[in-house]
Amino acid sequence: MAVSIIHRATGVALSFAGLGILTWWLFALSSGPDAYATFTKAATHPLGLVVLVGITWSFFQHLLSGIRHLVMDTGAGFELGINKTFAILTVVGSVVLTAAVWFYLLGMAK
């Protein structure tokens, strides 16, 4: 149940913050060095990094719980034990993938 409401919350976050930042990023890229510098400054600010890490986690969480919902749409995976294991795996998976991406990105920046 918790994973189901998280699916909605992350979906709303991705719709507004995620697509909003993607659009800003593309627009800044296309607008020249000054606009891109402004974007980079915001994105590398501690607060900006928190938002970007949050978006990354939302992306992986929504992707994994989305796969879970697609499986459940076929009528499979409703048994209590399997259902709970699958739900927990989406959270574990999203945290691991988010950590992996950011360790890689921050390592690359050095």
Binding site: G11, T23, Y36, V101
Partner: protein
Amino acid sequence: MSVGGSSTPLGKVRGLGSAKHGGEHWLTERATSIALLLLGTWLIASLLLLPQLDQRTVLEWLHAPSGAVPMALFIVVGFKHALDGVKVVVDDYVHEPGTNFATNLVLLFLAIGGGALALFALARIAFGGVA
């Protein structure tokens, strides 16, 4: 429209759910989700595989068809999926018909406007000279 045989006779008569129709919306949301599974994985993998994320490197990536075409698809399918998904949330919580219509209309304009802005920026990158 009835998908599958699980709905009750009353549900079929009423047209299913708080949106009053929805079979096609439901299927579109699933189709776009499967497309985004591929496109989203492509986007994350591409960003990680770029040697660095400075402006020149990213512009060269999005200037090439191999970057620009999947990104265009991601924008179109992403905004469509976001619009379909947020509508489900709105229809679940905003019951008054007038407010529901107004909220969905604002979200429709936001999605179309945001998608147009993102596509315009991408087109400027793809069809312009690399800075």
